[in-house]
């Protein structure tokens, strides 16, 4: 074992030495630019995708019905991602492998794999969180009728996300983007026997499609103006501050791509699909809300960050104002909705939307590191909270908190890990969320002082958002774990395969924030900075604690926890009675989710569905049927033509040959008289003719 570890270390060192003369960068100088570890990193993407197809075709024949393949592939990603993560932390990695797939005109379509700080962080998140979630799903999905199919789609989901984050160009990013979209559709609609779940899956797919259309437009504008789909080409133009076609259309390209990111990262007002996506099994919610799918939008903004940061003032700097406003509104408005939800998964779903708002706001404030740091920590504690909620649902057979209460004693592991996740989410020192959320608030304040006026307003929203977050989490904990049990089932602690992932994620929920403590250790900043030279780009993230903001936000959070406990902690006869406070105008507004769903339904969906469906029916009946019938009749006509050709021309040829031979025979038989002497005379005449001919010629 020791020998193995030593040889592995030598391997890494050897790999590191190969690329020691590396490109320049900020902070950690990228030490590794080649070597087999990065050259074979494409396996991270390919293994889960291959596993997905293998499970779909052969999963049912395997002893664990395909789970072992799914877990094996994601564990591979987790281990590979962890190795790369630590290697990046110690040496720094920048590598980009590409394979040319096709050339269309001057555009090269390439498939590639990026191995740099940003991608490695995503590999690590998807792999490690995915590994724990897959382990959990084994217990949670036990006995499901589509168990194998679930793991096939789940692997495809993880694989799609990895295609997305490994993409070195916009085309591959869109491929991964759509893979994630389609597999999330399959997973949200996993229990398709219930029509509501099908509706939720359709809603998620279609809302995402709206934003995808914008993403395509943005990608096309960007690619046409730069002449290449690759991020390198775009960022090269941006970093050098070249004015040209890209700077001319930068605002519209930036806006369109941001709208694409808004859909996947569920930003107001395109957030409506995410709470409904809770219709899927809980492990799906956990992975979707933590490491995959919703992080895609933030990731994309991070990938194109210099384009949005816009140091030269030629590019999409103006879009950042829109980004920070959208992020601020999202974090505030959706956080409020979480207060009135009864379904524990919906509380967490709105919480996710709200936290994504923080990330997007940080991106809008120009704080690259802060936004991605919150993405990193949030992935762990939100996965933990979802898996904890899944454990509760598994025990009480209901999503509603009005069927829970008093579960503290019955499910101690779930309780303590849920408490850790809650403290991490609300941002109590020293849990993970404290550092990342504080960094965002400090960065937003810094942006406000740096000339981005709207950021001051967003800072206020962010502080209120911190209060709201703590308040709804206090409510959720009080209603589920304290008081008397109000449900009908007999709850018990979940099996070990579900408990261990909770403990594993709880570990990360405590420690994940320690990688970027201003003034103590800021490794995370350097890990992500290896590719984009951020010092030159002026990353606006806060370099140190902003003590006023820190103290105010902590005070707000503690106050909110106390208030939440005072309001919801008291036991009552029924759970509904515990949750009875109502503020007249606000509560109906929140319970109806600001009427946005109704607006979409009556404003967009119904007008389209009615006339549009009729138009489609008309087209189907007249145009499509006409084409189908036309094709049929055409085929019939061709067949008739072929038949007549066959019976007339082809048969005719054969018959004519036969008849000709017969007629020739009838004529020639007359010369066969059977008289020997006549034959002799003929041959004599023939000889004479030949001789005469010889003499003449």
């Amino acid at each position: 074992m020791i020998q193995l570890a030593t040889s592995f270390q030598q391997l890494i060192l050897a790999t590191a030495e190969e690329g020691s003369n590396a490109a320049e960068g900020h902070g950690t100088v990228p030490g590794i630019t080649d070597g087999f570890l990065v050259e074979w990193a494409w396996l991270i993407v390919v293994v889960p995708l291959v596993a997905a197809f293998l499970i779909a075709f052969f999963g049912k024949k395997l002893p664990l019905q395909g789970w072992e393949l799914a877990f094996g592939s994601i564990a591979f990603v987790g281990v590979y991602g962890t190795v790369l993560f630590f290697l990046n932390a110690t040496e720094g990695i920048v590598y980009e492998g590409t394979i040319n797939v096709a050339d269309i005109g001057s555009f090269a379509i390439e498939w590639g794999w990026m191995v740099d700080g940003l991608s490695i962080m995503m590999y690590f998140l998807v792999g490690v969180v995915g590994m724990l979630v897959f382990m959990y799903a084994k217990g949670y999905m036990h006995g499901d009728i589509r168990y194998t199919w679930f793991f096939a789609s789940f692997s495809l989901f993880a694989g799609g996300m990895l295609v997305l984050v490994s993409a070195p160009n916009l085309i591959q990013l869109i491929v991964g983007w759509e893979l994630v979209g389609v597999s999330s559709y399959l997973l949200i609609g996993h229990y398709w026997e219930d029509f509501d779940n099908v509706d939720a899956a359709n809603k998620a797919f279609m809302v995402n499609k709206v934003s995808d259309a914008a993403l395509f437009i943005g990608a096309i504008i960007m690619a046409v103006s730069v002449g290449s789909f690759s991020f390198d080409a775009v960022l090269d133009v941006v970093v050098h501050g070249e004015s040209g076609p890209l700077s001319q259309y930068a605002f519209w390209a930036g806006l369109a791509i941001f709208i694409g990111a808004m859909g996947k990262s569920a930003q107001f007002p395109l957030h409506v699909w995410l709470p409904d996506a809770m219709a899927g099994p809980t492990p799906v919610s956990a992975l979707m809300h933590a490491a995959t799918m919703v992080t895609a939008g933030v990731y994309l903004l991070g990938r194109l960050f210099p384009f949005y940061l816009d140091v030269s003032g030629l590019f999409a700097g103006d879009v950042r104002t829109i980004i920070i406003i959208v992020g601020g509104l999202t974090l505030f408005l959706t956080g409020l909705i979480a207060i009135v939800q009864d379904d524990i998964k919906k509380v967490l779903a709105y919480s996710t939307v709200s936290q994504l708002g923080y990330m997007i706001a940080a991106m809008g404030a120009g704080a690259y590191t802060a936004g991605l740091f919150h993405l990193f920590t949030h992935a762990f504690f939100k996965a933990l909270l979802f898996l904890g909620a899944g454990s509760l649902i598994h025990a009480v057979h209901s999503n509603n908190m009005s069927d829970m209460g008093g579960l503290r004693k019955k499910m101690p592991i779930t309780f303590w890990t849920f408490i850790i996740g809650t403290l991490a989410l609300v941002g109590i020192f020293p849990f993970a969320g404290f550092f990342s959320k504080d960094e965002i608030l400090a960065s937003v304040k810094y942006a406000g002082g740096d000339g981005q006026g709207v950021a001051n307003f967003i800072l206020v929203l962010g502080l209120i958002g911190a209060f709201v977050t703590a308040f709804y989490m206090a409510r959720a904990v009080a209603l589920t774990f304290f008081g008397e049990y109000k449900g009908t089932a007999h709850p018990h602690e979940s099996p070990k395969s579900m408990a261990y992932p909770l403990i594993g994620l709880a570990f990360f929920a405590i420690t994940a924030g320690w990688v970027n403590i201003p003034g103590v250790y800021t490794g995370f900043t350097d890990w992500l900075a290896t590719r984009v030279p951020l010092s030159g780009m002026g990353d606006h993230h806060a370099e140190s604690f902003d003590w006023p903001v820190l103290i105010i936000s902590t005070l707000l959070v503690v106050t909110a926890l106390v208030v939440g406990w005072r309001v919801y902690g008291k036991d009552a006869d029924t759970q509904m009675a515990r949750d009875r406070i109502r503020i007249p105008v606000l509560w109906p507004l929140l319970e109806n989710k600001y009427y946005i769903d109704d607006l979409y339904m009556s404003g967009i969906v119904r007008p389209i569905m009615g006339p549009f469906a009729r138009a489609i029916l008309w087209i189907d009946m007249h145009v499509v049927d006409g084409i189908v019938n036309g094709v049929g009749l055409g085929a019939l006509g061709v067949a008739k033509g072929v038949q007549s050709f066959d019976s007339n021309v082809v048969d005719g040829l054969y018959n004519a040959t036969g008849a000709g031979t017969g007629a020739a025979g009838t004529i020639l038989r007359k010369s066969f008289t059977g008289r020997v002497q006549q034959y002799a005379a003929f041959s004599f005449v023939g000889v004479i003719v030949i001789v005469v001919l010889f003499i003449i010629f």
Partner: protein, 101 residues
Amino acid sequence: MTIVQFLIVGTALFSLGLYGVITRKNAVLVLVSVELMLAAVNINMVTFDVYLGDTLHQGQIFSLFIIALAAAEVGIGIAIILMIYRNRQSADVDELNLMKG
């Protein structure tokens, strides 16, 4: 003695033979006429052998072969005619038209 006189005899003999082969009705006489043609060819062979002064006398040797073959031919021919006559009570070649098309 010129070569022409011998050739005239040969030609005359060949023409008589040919005439007989084509016109005679009796199969035996057709066979005899064939013998006449062969004899005409022999005369030609010997004539040209002498005329050309061939030291190996190929013409004369060849005519001996022809005589020998003719003897064998007549033997088989007569046998066939005899069998036909036995079967059909006739040796008329005009009636031997089984091969008529």
